[in-house]
């Protein structure tokens, strides 16, 4: 019996030593107490190798949980990740309000122009209203081209433009009798910022803000890119806008099978008949297309043409008119904030920049003393100089000035 008790004691000691050993094997928790929340989070225990997401979101201030959600205290990967907002993409529009919104952040300010989340939710890139409307109209389900449906229901309390509509219902193909509309609903509602992304990790984060502001996100597995930027290269736009072509007869989307090659941009575009001038394939998309065009103006529009207004003449003017310009005299001008977020130019008070029809400063341009203009690539920092049309040999009349007319002479051979 005494021997058994000695043995039992040995077993107990063994168990306690094993418990100490198991305890010492626990990962050493790395705590982070972001100044914004003041609550400890332990994500860095495993994720200390991630780069800072952007200059505007330092981890010491924001931490991880305020954007990503998740269980801040858990050291078990499954539990820690179980409540993450939007899974791999906290900026998915279904959760964006909690992740990126808030009055100090990207929504909720009184000024409509600053409520980026509402702007994106109402923009054609999110609603897909143009395509839905056109299909319904073409197949006779609707009598005009005014949008009534989006991928999800959305409303705008403050219509400010003549083409804005107050609200869209969620498009529900259940009532549609036409098989083409049914097919459209099955095959074509995956892209666009507010859609349920296609299955597969490469599509997980191609919705919401990340679709544009996290370049490279579609091409790499989750977790490899941790970045938010306003310097969006054309390659990121191409992730969606050069992904393939529509087949209207089959009412399907045909993804391209060839791999687009960055070196040969103009040949690479999915539509063989599309025409481009040199600047359209040498610059990045965002060098010309402004944030209002891309993210909307806060109104719900029926199609893309109602919100796309940058034309060749925005920068080049017409044979009879120089492009609109504006001298930056207000230190609170949005141009300075944009230049600070993407510091490719040293913008100074008193500089003159080109402005769009809607009065937005093209903050990456400037008027040079000799009457020519300069544009700095927002994603590349590359400097371009260009001349106005006025004073050149261009004989195009002053009324027909959309880019299609310019392409007649200036498009490159593809």
């Amino acid at each position: 019996m005494k021997r058994l008790i000695a043995l039992g004691s040995a077993l107990l000691l063994l168990a306690i030593v094993a418990a100490w050993w198991a305890n010492s094997r626990q990962p050493k928790p790395i705590v982070l107490i972001p100044t914004l929340t003041g609550k400890p989070e332990y994500c860095l225990t495993c994720h200390s190798d991630l780069p800072e997401i952007s200059k505007s979101h330092p981890i010491k201030t924001f931490g991880c949980v305020i954007c990503h959600g998740g269980e801040a205290l858990a050291l078990n990967a499954d539990l820690a990740h179980s409540t993450m907002r939007g899974g791999a993409n906290p900026s998915d529009l279904s959760v964006v309000q909690e992740s990126c919104g808030g009055s100090s952040c990207h929504s909720g300010t009184a000024e409509q122009n600053n409520n980026h989340i509402q702007r994106v939710l109402t923009s054609v890139q999110a609603t897909y209203a143009g395509a839905i409307t056109n299909i319904l109209y073409t197949y006779g389900a609707e009598g005009d081209l005014t949008a009534r449906f989006g991928i999800r229901a959305v409303a705008d309390a403050q219509v400010t433009t003549s083409t804005g509509v107050p609200a869209l219902q969620a498009f529900d193909p259940a009532g549609a009798s036409n098989p083409a509309i049914q097919k459209f609903a099955v095959n074509c509602l995956f892209c666009h910022l507010n859609a349920q992304p296609l299955p597969g990790p490469q599509f997980d984060r191609l919705s919401g803000c990340a679709a544009c502001h996290t370049p490279g996100i579609g091409s790499l597995p989750p977790g490899q890119i941790h970045k938010l930027t306003t310097a969006i290269p054309y390659t990121q736009c191409n992730t969606c806008h050069n992904r393939g072509n529509y087949d209207l007869r089959a009412m399907a989307f045909v993804p391209r099978s060839d791999q687009p090659q960055a070196a040969d941009r103009v040949q690479n575009y999915y539509q063989p008949i599309a025409q481009f001038t040199k600047c359209e394939y040498e610059l990045d998309c965002i060098d010309c297309h402004t944030r209002t065009e891309a993210m909307g103006d806060g109104d719900i529009h029926s199609n893309e043409t109602q919100i796309q207004y940058i034309q060749c003449r925005t920068c080049h003017g017409t044979p009879t008119q120089l492009p609109s310009t504006k001298m930056l005299t207000d230190p609170n001008d949005i141009a300075f904030r944009q230049a600070q977020l993407n510091p490719v130019v040293d913008l100074e008070l008193g500089q003159t920049v080109i402005v769009t029809d809607k009065g937005e400063p093209m903050w990456n341009t400037r008027v040079l003393p000799d009457g020519t203009y300069q544009l700095v690539g927002k994603a590349t920092g590359q400097v371009f100089t260009f001349r106005p049309v006025m004073g050149s040999g261009c004989t195009q009349n002053g009324i027909d000035q959309s880019s299609a007319y310019c392409h007649t002479c200036h498009a490159v051979q593809r």
């Binding site: 005494k2 004691s9 000691l13 306690i16 100490w20």
Partner: protein
């Protein structure tokens, strides 16, 4: 080995094993209890722009608590925590008085009357490049 000593040996082994187990258990118990759940106390306080505290001013900063003094030598700060047992002292005439046990300090923080024995602590004051005044309590 005789029967008796053999029994003693087992007893000894058992006692030793249980003693080690007990010691390890007590160690684990101590480590279990010795864990801080709340985040460490704040030691740096940003109290706003330096221009809000003009020369010659003596400003009470309640959240620290401290008295920020701006005189000809620049900024300095006195902790308003009594050096006796940690109560927050209140201004009393030109000096300070502790409500708990009646310690008195003069305007520079020197002890006028016990039971406190040490003068008030001077806090480190830092004016950052953005002209914000930071008080450090560590």
């Amino acid at each position: 080995m005789s029967n008796l000593s053999r029994r003693d040996l087992f007893k000894l082994i058992t006692t030793a094993l249980l003693a080690i187990s007990g010691a390890l258990g007590l160690g684990a118990l101590f480590r279990f209890l010795d864990y801080q759940t709340d985040p460490p106390l704040k030691t740096a306080f940003d109290i706003g722009l330096a221009e809000d505290y003009p020369a010659g001013s003596r400003s009470l900063i309640a959240e620290v608590p401290a008295l920020l003094i701006h005189d000809q030598n620049g900024f300095s700060a006195l902790s308003l925590v009594c050096t006796h047992l940690g109560c927050t002292i209140a201004q009393n005439g030109t000096g300070f008085a502790c409500p708990c046990h009646g310690s008195r300090y003069d305007a520079d923080g020197n002890v006028l009357r016990g039971p406190a024995q040490k003068p008030l602590r001077h806090l480190r004051v830092e004016v950052g490049s953005d002209q914000h005044v930071i008080l450090h309590t560590d």
